[in-house]
């Protein structure tokens, strides 16, 4: 009996640690947002920035110089919030993919989805061809091609049997295919177009606008609750396809639906930002090392870690080479380096 109590107390403590971790992340994120809105080359003081925010929210009560209000509301605020949503979404999508494929190195990149988006964007930029015209040409193409890749993986897996191995293999094949097409388009295009494609592939939060933020937030608001609802199935799938099936999880259907959702979230984010790497890989990994792999807490926690990482990276990107704004995808790529070195040094078994 003694031992029973110890065990149960231990589990309760584990749950508390997780709750604290999430609380800490949330607090950290709020603080970081608070700092990020004050960064920028307009030379606004911290007070002026906050006053401008308040003036926008409650114009009757607060007033601020309209230049400050314009800068904060037209340029900074939606960018900061977009980085938060994008980081959150990419991390959650990454954690779902890693759970389903039982591969801690799975991410939107290793599944070819990001490469497909780059190809879609290249086609729009170099050939001027796409589904939606005008300013949404590149965005529409990138989104469409991401989904195409997800469908291709599903199709290939279905043909050979849906299982984690087939999906990973299919993903790698797609990644190479789309990279090759992108390279060809880069070669064929003019110097101008090449520059545009390369810039798109760096990944940046520069082009965020309030409507784009709205779209991403809407998609997240619809999908995240569902993913949380399915958290136990994700936990079960992590134990293996057979075990999950014997526990009552409709394995094939679940894998398909969850993969599609993760792909959708990824697609809707990277069609606006370009290919931002490593968030979907690093954030869930770090979170899992900290609080284990129960998806009920892993999903929100890795989302928060992803938001912190991306917002942090973007803040660095805006400050380190001022007045130049470094594309955030470059900063996150550097993130990957210490992470992999750490993994390399701490690996006990292959």
């Amino acid at each position: 009996m003694e031992q029973h109590v110890i065990i149960q107390e231990g589990y309760t403590r584990l749950k508390k640690t997780r709750a604290l971790f999430i609380g800490g992340l949330l607090a950290g994120l709020v603080i970081l947002i608070g700092v990020a809105v004050t960064l920028g080359s307009a030379g606004l003081t911290v007070g002026e920035s906050y006053l401008a925010i308040l003036a926008g929210l409650l114009p009757g009560v607060f007033s601020a110089p309209d230049l400050a209000t314009t800068i904060v509301w037209d340029f900074r605020l939606h960018r900061v919030l977009f980085a938060v949503c994008a980081g959150f979404g990419l991390a959650v999508a990454g954690s779902v993919m890693q759970g389903i494929l039982r591969n801690p190195l799975a991410s939107p990149f290793t599944l070819g989805i990001a490469s497909a988006a780059a190809t879609g964007a290249s086609i729009a930029i170099v050939l001027g061809a796409g589904v939606v015209g005008g300013e949404y040409l590149v965005i529409g193409n990138a989104f469409l091609f991401s989904l195409l890749a997800a469908l291709a993986i599903y199709g290939m897996a279905r043909y050979r049997g849906i299982g984690s191995e087939t999906m990973v293999l299919a993903g790698i094949a797609l990644m190479y295919l789309f990279s090759a097409v992108t390279s060809l388009l880069q070669y064929v295009g003019s110097a101008e177009q090449l520059q545009a494609v390369v810039f798109w592939m760096f990944g940046s939060v520069d082009k965020s606008t309030w409507p784009k933020l709205g779209i991403v937030a809407l998609v997240l608001a619809c999908t995240i609750p569902y993913l949380l609802y399915r958290a136990w199935d994700l936990n079960a799938l992590a134990e293996g396809d057979e075990v999950a099936a014997s526990l009552g999880v409709p394995v094939e259907r679940s894998m398909t639906v969850l993969m599609m959702i993760a792909s959708l979230i990824t697609a809707v984010i990277i069609c606006f930002t370009g290919t931002i790497g490593f968030i979907g890989l690093v954030a869930p990994h770090i979170t899992r090392m900290a609080i284990g792999s129960d998806f009920r807490t892993l999903l929100p926690a890795s989302g928060l870690v992803g938001a912190l990482l991306l917002l942090g990276a973007d803040s660095i990107a805006r400050s380190v080479l001022a007045p130049q704004v470094l594309p955030v995808g470059i900063v996150t790529a550097f993130l990957g380096v210490p992470f992999f070195i750490y993994l390399f040094l701490h690996r006990r078994n292959a």
Partner: protein, 402 residues
């Protein structure tokens, strides 16, 4: 929904702040500033400034009104930029931000008061020898990575962007600025294309009210280009000088719509690799020997490379030339045998100074036809007479070799 409310609010706030779309002082808003309107606006300003009266026009408004009245005959000026868009100017240019070095240079050639340029792009900012003192202006980044906040706090009234290149990036900058600064004017000019530059010179001159100077510069530019065109117009295709033009990178030539190809052809050169749609194709080294060009031109100047306005470094260009001569099999090429291998810096062949570079090309391709063409003198006159900088070609900068 909060966002829409805000946007409406911002627009309302912005209107009086940036001075409405209309000529300052045009009290009856009929689109013309009559003498009487100007007079009463001036008096109202003096009254408000010195006699504690009430008035909503400030000093800048009155100065602009004076300009409009005196130079524009009281009417707003309509200009068409290089994208074909018509922009109505209710005030002269007072605070300009240029995102392209070419338009900045053109403004200087036309005698614009460069103190009115409040910010430049980062590449111009870094050119300390060509734009001395401009480091005190603000640096707004590049077209692909613009510092929008910086642009906004400078409160510019005019922005100049490219018209036909980097269109996606330029359109994006234009859209964002017009959304947050409703009174701002965005003008799109390339200022580097042989086909459009002459017209752009005159258009910009009319915008800044320097028509005389504009004509002077336009004819200076035009006469050089016309001389080249006329001098090569009657050469039949099979008698044209065969030219191999090598880009910054080894074995990469120019073709199709690349600007350097256009200029080579303008100077009467025949580029055997001009076919195809790739702008900078990589060629097989053997093909160069087979084509046996009569003149070889190598482009110098990428990034941190030497020469140009950055430094006086003929040895470096000589080294580039020697490296070309040492290539295997090149001793058989006519250009090498006749000693017609030249190095030219992109500073005078790309950009707004392309007429100087093209003049050099023409002289190299047809030395007899253009024996009286003196690109060096043209270059010096451009620098001293139009750009107004203290730069002596004899001792500073290296642009061609030999």
């Amino acid at each position: 929904m909060n966002r829409w409310y805000l946007l409406a609010l911002l627009l309302l706030l912005a209107v009086p702040a940036s001075a409405a779309e209309g000529i300052p002082g045009d009290a009856d808003a009929d689109g013309t500033l009559a003498r009487a309107e100007y007079a009463s606006a001036a008096l109202a300003y003096l009254d408000a400034a010195y006699m504690n009266g009430a008035g909503d026009l400030d000093r800048d408004d009155i100065r602009d009104a004076a300009w409009v009245y005196a130079r524009w005959d009281g009417k707003p000026r309509e200009v068409t930029d290089s994208t074909g868009r018509t922009v109505t100017l209710y005030r002269p240019l007072r605070r300009v931000v240029t995102f392209s070095g070419e338009s900045l240079e053109t403004l200087r050639s036309l005698g614009f008061d460069m103190d009115k340029v409040v910010a430049v792009d980062k590449y111009s900012y870094e050119k300390e020898t060509f734009f001395p003192g401009y480091q005190e202006k603000a640096n707004v980044g590049s077209i692909w990575s613009p510092d929008m906040e910086k642009v906004l706090i400078l409160r510019p009234d005019t922005i100049i962007l490219y018209a036909t290149i980097s269109t996606a990036a330029c359109d994006d900058i234009q859209k964002r600025l017009e959304a947050s600064s409703p009174g701002i004017r965005v003008l799109r000019f390339d200022c580097f294309k042989p086909t459009t530059y002459a017209g752009e010179i005159r258009t910009i001159a009319s915008i800044i009210d320097e028509t005389e100077r504009g004509e002077e510069f336009a004819s200076f530019y035009g006469s050089t280009m016309d001389r080249i065109r006329d001098g090569t117009a009657d050469i039949p295709d099979d008698e044209k000088t065969r030219v191999y033009f090598e880009y910054w990178f080894d074995y990469t030539t120019v073709a199709a719509s690349a600007g350097y190809n256009e200029k080579t052809e303008l100077a009467g050169g025949k580029n055997p690799f001009a076919t195809g749609t790739t702008e900078y194709p990589v060629v097989d080294p053997e093909a160069i020997i087979v084509a046996d060009p009569e003149v070889v031109v190598k482009l110098a100047g990428q990034g941190l490379a030497v020469g140009g306005y950055a430094g006086h470094d003929p040895e470096a260009l000589d080294a580039i030339r020697s490296a070309l001569l040492d290539r295997p099999g090149w001793s058989r090429i006519s250009a090498v045998k006749d000693d017609r291998v030249h190095v030219i810096h992109s500073d005078i062949l790309g950009g707004a100074q392309h007429f100087i570079g093209t003049a050099y090309l023409a002289k190299w391709f047809y030395p007899d036809r253009f024996s009286d063409l003196d690109p060096h003198a043209i270059h010096q006159r451009y620098l001293t007479g139009f750009q107004g900088i203290d730069f002596d070609l004899a001792s500073q900068g290296t642009f061609v070799y030999p």
